[in-house]
Each structure stands twice: as structure tokens, then as C-alpha cells.
Amino acid sequence: MTDGFHIVVCGSLVPDPIQTLEPVPGGDRPALKNEAMLPSVLDPWAGHALYEAAHLAAKTPGSKVWLVSLGPKAQLQQLMMRVAQKVPFELVALDGPASGFTDSFEVAVALAQAIEGIDGLDRSRLLLFGGCASASRDAGVTVQMVGERLGIHDQFLAVDELKVEDGGSIRVLERVEGGRYLASVCEGAPLVAAWATGSLPEPPNSPQVGMQNMRTIMPALAKAGPATLGGEGTTWLTAEVPQQRRETRVVKDSSADEIAQEIVTWIKG
């Protein structure tokens, strides 16, 4: 793989988790109270995917990174003031809801269409990245469906490591049960990698990188078309925040082993 990769990262915003997130009934789907006013952050799993993508692109000359984001335009713009400072990429924006109450199938249709429309994207060199989960809906299926629609069948889920080997083949570590990895090797691009956490820290901000990215980000936001997420066929009965359970008992003079044993017993139910 000497020409470099074309890495497309699917990722959008989620409400900042420290905000009060209270579901309220909305028009066609529930919403969060004051959702439009809540500050948002880059979905953490998408973030890992983006940083891994940039890292791989930097190591592989000729590569390029796109970030495809479906979200409310104005909020995406605010988010970009932070995310654009992290790593170099080109934004493809779609204007639409990014809440936890959208249907992942419809989201996947919109994202796949947007990716098909990217100018100069070489699908034979495509690595489709995204998160294996999300801090909002967490359907855990969106990236796979996008991959299917683009006809990419080499799919890796909960990826923590992706390495290009000497001959151009790609070795991937996927999380599996019991804290273990499944190691696979495939011939190369195209492939789908839905990332777990990867291993890279969040890059520090660099306004210089941000300024560079902004040259394409602002036009992309300006021309972001509306994504149709009608939610057809979905009926929302109720939406609620999981109840917090708190059972306090004052225990004195127990050893660490006894406490650990008790916790294990409790978890096992």
C-alpha cells in the first residue's frame, strides 16, 4: 500500500455527559430537555477513530482523512472549533438530528450516500472508520450498515489496533469476550473498522492545525444538505434515564478480600 489510504471517519456530536440529560417528548421523536442549548462533545468512540485515522494517515504518505458528521449544523460548527484543532481532516457535514433518538438504519443510509458523494475518494483505498459504540444511542450497528451499503465486507468490530504490515496486509485486533483479542489479517483496503478505544491519547489542541482545517470546514458546513431522518415505522412509547441504585450499608472491620468477595457475589446476582 504505497499510495496511502483514504480514511473516512463517521462521527458526530453527543451532548456533553456532565449536562443534565432529561428526556422530554418531542415532535416526531423524544428529545432531551433544552437539547439545542446543551454544549456537545465529539462522540468519544468516534474521537478514538478519528485520532487513530490521523495517526495512520500521518505514517502513510499519500493518505487523507475525511470526517463525515451528521448533526445539527450550528452545533457541529461549535464542535469543530475544538475538534478541528486536534488533527488534520476534511469535513463532510450533513444537517440533521444527532440525538439518541434517531434510527441507526436511516443514519447509515444518509452517511453512506454522503460518502459516495465525496469528490476524489478512491474506494479501493478506503478504510471506513467509526466508533463501535456511541455515547448517545449506542446501537452498535451504524458503521457496519454503512460498510454494507458501500459494499465493504471486511468488517472489524471493537478494534483496538490496526497495523499495516510490510506486504501491505493489515493486522487488526478486535476485542472479544473475556478481555481477549481476536487477531485477524486481511489483504488490505477496503475495510471497515469500528473502533473501541484504540491506544492513542486525545491530541493537544493546536490552533494552527485548526486554522488549516477551517479553510475546508466552513465551506463544508455552508453547503451541508439536510439529511432525511423521518423515523418512519418507529413509535416511541417512553424514554427514561436509567434509575440510579444506591444501597448504602456501613461496614466496619472487613478485610479487602471480604469486601471484594461481597462485590463479586452482588454482581453475579
Binding site: D16, T20, E22, K33, N34, P204, M214, E240
Partner: protein, 688 residues
Amino acid sequence: MSATTDRQEPDTLRTLPGDDVRQIMWRFADRFDLQMVVQSVRAVARGPVARLVAGGGRNSHDWTDEKNALLAAFDESGITALGAEPEHGGYLEGPQNLAMALAAFELSWVDAGAATSSLASHLGLSPIHEHGTPEQKQTYLSRAVPTNDGDICRGAFALTEPLPYVGVDTGVLSGKAKIAEWNDGEEPILQIDKRGRFITGMDFANMVTAAVDSADERINGSFFVILEEGDEGMFDRGAPTLKLVHQLSSTRDPIFNLKVPASRIVGGYTIKDGVLTPNVSHSEVLNDVFRHTRVPVGLMTSAKLLSAVEPIIRYQRGRFRGGEGKPGTPRHDLGLQQKEDALHRLIDVWATGEAMTSLGLATARLFDEYDPLKREKDRIFAERGVTGIRAMMGELKTIEKAALEFLDGRASGETSSGAVPGEDPLIRFVIDDSLTSVLCPATKLWNTGYGATVMREAVSLVGGYGITEDCPGFLGQKWMDAQLEATYEGPEAVQRRQLSITMANPVFLRQFDDWIVELGQIAGNKAGLGASTLASAMKLWRWTLDHLRETKDADGKPLFRDNRQGVTFPMGDALSWLVASRYQMLDVLELESKGKERPELAESLPGTVQFFTDLCRVQAARAAGEVGRMCAELVYGYQRQPSGEALATFQALRSELDESIAEARLAKDRAARSLTGVMIPEALDYPA
């Protein structure tokens, strides 16, 4: 919890104002470069800086490894390079006063010592930035931008000297310069002796700009000189200052005894008849440096007040939770917010913080406009051969006249023919100069001095917690820190002294009169802001100023004189209250008009505007009260048996002012109610 209907009233504040709202109010909605700077600085402030403070990093006077690590964080995130021009490796185009002010605001939201630390190097380089020769600029300003090779120039600014020398009075320099060697046809070598007191950045600065005076008949006058670590002689960093505040900045009392070439004189020098004359005196440097650097200091304190709002609300609401009141009861849900005084005082803190920030950022933006005008004025003067203080003053007097004529024309609507002088850079310079000369000291004086007082109120609102290290939002430390901000870079007396002169400038007063008219129009278009209250207070201040300038006290001594600080200083304070309130209103009007163009704000805008409008009214009433009190003390307090026609006018103005306060308390009640419903995050977004 099941989904419930949103029962909040449409016209009240729903969430704490976010970046989208602030960008409009503070006029950087279309400046993506600045929005990125804000985010970048915020990540450092609420990340490494907050972790260090929460971990007890402030409990030491020493410059620890952890504190030193912040410098790398500043470098990495672009904070260090702020203030550098693109030609020297900076990444922001154009003047950077607003950028620096926003950065100081963001850092001080968490810890102003960190802000000082990041700004101090800039202060050290400022003499060169303002007056350096092209070679000095190239050498030092480029090296001040972080690069990968790790070589970086970090500056310190050494003006203040051990007692009994330089402090408020910057003329009594004990730092001296002599000629050490001067061989024929060669550059003179200077011997510099300077002791500093309270010099920021001295733990790591490798370059210092120091103020010194001549102690040699072959040197003419005072100047700033560049000293470097590695120069021949002694570069002793001195003892650390045992300060109670801003512990994330480094402060020491250094001693320098160094030999340096005369090319280190900031701004260069001329030699005539065997005497070396620096091109720029130390006081000229000070004038231009402090004009710029005092504004971010004002924002350091305003950030503290606004940052206190969220932790105070959280404390108030949660005060009784876990006790007897069950969820759903007012005791559980509202806690201390059941008490009117707790809410009213928080409104005072918030309203003051808004006015301070609006004033400070308006001043920073004005400097962004002013800097290129000043350069253009210097260029035109040089081209016309206008040199020397006297010639320049004469020329400026002529331009001042033209500026006044232009302002008269503008006010009477004759702008079409007056459009040409309005574009004249010299006229614009004189107008902006008169404004910056008031707004800069007003920002520094009022934001920091009164800010410290209001910060004490904020601390009170969290009870005993307020004065512990555990207080969320570091409120106790912020209270003490505000006192330093009121002191360094020129204590309040210095700002008041400057205001006593600049507030009487006819070009300023001419604009002030226009503002009164403008506020009358605003009051007609938008009720509720308190614009008529402010206009009445401004009229009273304006009348009082004229009165004091032509009146004598009971013993026949003139009142408005330089050395009568008892008269001039309160007038400066009163003016600061007025301008702050004005800029606060202008920002809310901006939010209202520009916010309407933003569909994403449609839902929240009316409530946000209503709340900020109420804050304006609360602040205007407070400002009017203060101004009324100060003016009355001055008008009556110097007479034994006050009487006469003039006093009747004063009384009429005073009673107009009092009446204009109508409804202000109703606005305060409404704003206070908003505080009980506003949604806040579950936790502070930085460790505390």
C-alpha cells in the same frame, strides 16, 4: 424518570449561556480563529491548570516541576504564540488585543495565576513589540514563538524596584546605566545595575526588559534595556516572593549586574557630541506597554465573577439534599434558593460580572481598531517631519479640533459631507485615543477593584466552604487573586490618576454627550434595559464634572485640581461604573438583533435576552446609585452651607435619576426567579 412535559416559561433563561450566545455578545461570532483560541485555552485551563490547583499546586511559593509543566502546555496549545505577529511565527492575523483578552478570561475562569504566567512573557517582550528596532523585533519576537528545537525566549519585565524606589511612582529609578567601555568607532558597552521587586516569570525568564536611568554624563535620560541570561556579569534570579495569590505564576526579586552592548537599548539610540541618547524613554515605553496589557488583567477578575455563578447555584440547590426534605419539596429542590437574599446577591455578582466583561472586551476590541491607526499616525507624522514631543502635541491639537468638528457634524446628522473626515486616519486616531485613554484605566480600575469586593460577596454565598480549599470553583483563591489584579500593572491609584486627566478630554466628553443622546433613543426602542436610568446618571456626572471644574470649596480653593484626589478620583470611579453599564447594554442589544438571524437560537433567545436585559437594569440602577452618591458628596461635601441656582439644577437631575430607577427591583425579582429554574450541568467541567 419518565419523559415529562417541559413546563418552563418561555421567557426566562433556560440554561447557562453557551459559547454561541457569548460569541455574539462579545462580537467574535465570525472570528473562527478566536473561537478556536478560546477552546484551546479552555482545554488547558480546565485540564492541566485545574488539576494542578485541585491537587494543591498553589500551596507552595516555589516554582515546582508541576508548575513548570504548564509552560509546555501553554506552548503546545498556541497560548504562548498569541500576541506574535505572523512575520515572527504567530498564527493570528491582525492586532491581537481581543485574542489576548479572551485567553486571559478563559485561564482566569479557573486560575488567574496561570493567566499571569502565560501573559508575563508577553509583558516582558512588550517593550520590544511596541518600540523595538527592527533588529530587536526580529531577534526576540521570533524566538518567543515555540518551535520544535526547544529554544525559546521567555521574557520578564523589570520595572518595580525594592523600597524606596519604583512602585506607583515610576520615575524614581534606582536602576542605573553607565558606559563601561566606548572605544572609538565601536559600539558603546553599557554597565547595567538593576534590582527588581516582584518580577513575574523570573524563575524561567532567559531575557528581561529592565527600566534604568542614566548614571553617566555620556548617557542622556532613562530607557528600557534588554538583558539576557549569559550576558557578562551577574544574572541573579533572587529570592522568591512569598505571595498569597497567583501561586501558579513565578515571582522573584532579581538582581542584575551586567555588561551589554548599547544595541540592547529598546528602540535604539543616537549619538551626538559624544553623548548617547536613547530614542525612547522608559516612560514612553511604559505608556504604550501598559495601555495594552492592563486590559487582559481586567478580564481576569471579570472571569472570576462569571465563573462563580454555576458553583454557587449548585451549592445553593443541593444545600439540604440528603436531609429531611424529600425530592419534590422546595427544601430539597431549591435549597438555599428558597431565600430571596441568596438569589438577589447572586444576581448582583452575575450582573457585575457581565458589565465587567462587556467593558473589558469592548476595550480590547477598540485597541484592535486603535493599534493600526496609531501606526498610521506615526507614519504620517514621520512623513511630515513632525518629531519631538512639542511638535507632536501641536499637531494633535489641530487634529483634535477637526475631530470635534467631525463629531459635531455627525451628531447633527451632517454625516454625508462629514464622511470624509470620518475616514481620515488622524481624526479617527484622535477619537479612538480619547476613548482608549478612558476605557483602559476604567477597565483596570473598576473590574479589578470593585471586582474584588464583589468576589467577596460570591465567597459569602457558599458559607464556610467559600474560605476553604475545597470550595468548588476555587472561589476563595479567586477572591484573594482579585486583589493582586487590582495591584500589579499599576494599582488603582494609578488608574484613577490617569482617568482624572483623560476624562476631561473634550474629544472624550463630546462622545460621552452623544452616548447620553443615544441612550435616550435606546430607552425609547427597548424598555427594560435601564437605558434611561443610565442616561440620567450620565447627565448627572457630566453636570457635576463641569460644576466641579468651575467651583471652589468653602475655603475658596479650586476643586478640580490634579492634587485634589478627593475630588478627581471619585469622579473617575463614577465614570467607570457608567461606561461598564453602557457596554453591558450594547452587548445585550447585539445579542437580541444578531441572535434573531440564528435559527438555532430561536427557541432560547427570548428568555436569554429577557434575563440579560434584567441584569442590565439591575446594574444600571446600581451604577446610578453609586454615581448619585459620589456626585452628591462632591457637590455638597465641600461646602458649609450649600445653596444657589446650581444646586437646584443638581437636585433636579438627582431627582430625575432617582425616579428613573423605577422597576429596577422588579427586574431583580424576575431575574432572581430565573435562577431557580435555570438548568445547570450535573458537575463542574473542571476538577475542584
